[in-house]
Symmetry: C2
Subunit: 328 residues, 2 copies
């Protein structure tokens, strides 16, 4: 019997038997390489094929020992039981078409894309009968990209959302569920449509807002870019981290989750108009009420282990207290 003990790695001990016999990971960026690291750490897959269309990335994978084999050829998925697509949201139709002839009967196709409705629409027409589609989205990441950025614990204590279309084979969904659990994630199932709304507010619009404020700040004529950088510790720098995320990935997310993003943006604009009016008319009560309410959400995020309780995200100061008066 497998024991989860201190001696094993941070993800837990290796599995007695792999969950996936033969795994293909297509697109070796931050997420793809982290999946391979996690699978190696716990022996989640018996054999791993790392596929990327960029020969330079495939070369890096070889140098880093990512996967049991590495290739630029999508035909490398042949014979794989699970194929996980870790590519930009805009590339799914093309890759699905190229991949389809090589899929073995009974194979499961999954992905890690940040938009689910569009991805299902792009993949489904290309899948042969008998191949299962189980879309997945691990809500985890850093602002770094590429095969060097990955690490085995990226998904630990993070949520992975599955959006199997109605009628999806339960055994296929079950396998993808076990696959993510083994990498340390918690799994939740919902519809693609609901996923796209939830992520619009928890991820897509925050990124858009961050990109926007960084862009606006760079364009001001009364404040120099050098001043913006120098005095960024007052709050601005927090936004620059997510505004340093991969441009291709994020362009595709906005274009493929248009309705939900525009709807949430509309809500934000309404609400910011109320705040602007309160500032203009000196209505401190409205401001104070909102600023008090928002602390509860932060507390919920910390209580549920979705962020660090340490001040300043745990950014290193030379010396720092354990907690301080926690948002009291």
């Amino acid at each position: 019997m497998i024991q989860d003990n201190e001696a094993s790695g941070p993800l837990g001990p290796p599995l007695e038997a792999p969950i996936v016999r033969r795994l293909a990971v297509v697109g070796i960026g931050l997420i793809g390489s982290s999946i391979i690291h996690a699978c190696r750490a716990r022996r989640i897959a018996g054999h791993v094929v790392a596929i990327d269309r960029d020969p330079a990335v495939v070369g890096r994978c070889r140098a880093l020992g990512l996967g049991d084999e590495q290739t630029t050829d999508i035909a490398g998925i042949a014979g794989c039981d699970l194929v996980v697509l870790c590519i930009p949201v805009g590339a799914f139709a093309e890759v699905a078409a190229a991949m389809a002839p090589h899929l073995k009967p009974g194979a499961i196709v999954s992905d890690v894309g940040s938009v689910k409705g569009s991805i299902i629409a792009q993949i489904s027409p290309h899948l042969p009968a008998g191949v299962h589609l189980v879309p997945a989205h691990p809500v985890a990441g850093t602002e770094y990209s590429g095969p060097d950025a990955g690490f085995a614990t990226l998904f630990q204590r993070r949520w992975c959302i599955l959006t199997p279309p109605e009628g999806t084979d339960a055994a296929a969904t079950g396998l993808v569920d076990r696959f993510w659990h083994a990498m340390g994630a918690d799994v939740e199932v919902m519809t693609a449509e609901h996923h796209d709304r939830v992520l619009a507010i928890t991820s897509h619009v925050p990124h858009l807002i961050a990109y926007n404020i960084v862009g606006t700040a760079a364009d001001l004529e009364t404040v120099t870019e050098s001043e913006v950088i120098k005095f960024s510790a007052g709050g601005f720098r927090d936004f620059t981290r997510i505004a340093a995320s991969d441009p291709t990935m994020w362009r595709d997310i906005f274009l493929h989750n248009r309705e939900a993003v525009l709807e949430m943006l509309g809500r934000l604009n309404e609400d910011v108009a109320i705040l602007a009016r309160a500032i203009r008319w000196g209505d401190g009560e409205t401001l104070f009420r909102l600023f008090t309410r928002t602390r509860a959400i932060r507390r919920g995020i910390i209580d549920q282990g979705q962020d660090a309780a340490e001040p300043d995200f745990g950014r290193r100061h030379a010396e720092q207290p354990g907690g301080g008066k926690a948002e009291a």
Copy 2:
């Protein structure tokens, strides 16, 4: 001769002679308590009076050993060479009026407020002749508040902006400059008006945007608050940190830097309208161009030591690489 060596504390060794003979810190929150910690660590002040109108805070100061004496009485500033006001921006007129009769001739009054124009306007009418006003703003902080939240290195490698009104005594400005340098800060001098514009974009508007998005997310009817919390690791949680900052402090900042905040907010709204239009019409080029440009700002912030290069602000993952492909 004083040597800056490894054996001394992170801020450097204690000074041979204090910069300030007798120091009063009025308002013992995160900033006030951090000043007292830093002054003690390097013996920057010969004697420190900790003043807070809240008896509970004064009690905490005694328990924590913050200052050589602690009192709720503003008359405690009597005989002090430097008085640093660490109070909400909206409280300056009242405190200046109460403090004025107790100021000794030649004393320097400074502060740490996030808005400078309004503070100067509030204090100046109350200052007796022969007392110097040298407004200061250390651009540093965490989302925690209160006397327990402070630590000696909060200001290390951060900027402190001085905004002495025209005609301010150069020796007084020089002393405040040395005071902040001794606490590990770099010092820059500018006009109050320019400060208020710079901080509007680097601090005030980012906080407003963060408060706003957290508030909007909490109010959605199609996505539950529990979902917002669960899936916050996709970006949203970054905003919740600054949206957990002290409500009174931030209410006052917006009310007292109204013009600059509303102007910057207007800019942001124009720019976000361009992005919304690009999303609506599928203009990926406009999005991609912005998303590439914003990376350069992040790089500048890291290069200048204003944020951590570690992925995810250095948030603790069980295992993590040194860097990854840094925003390349």
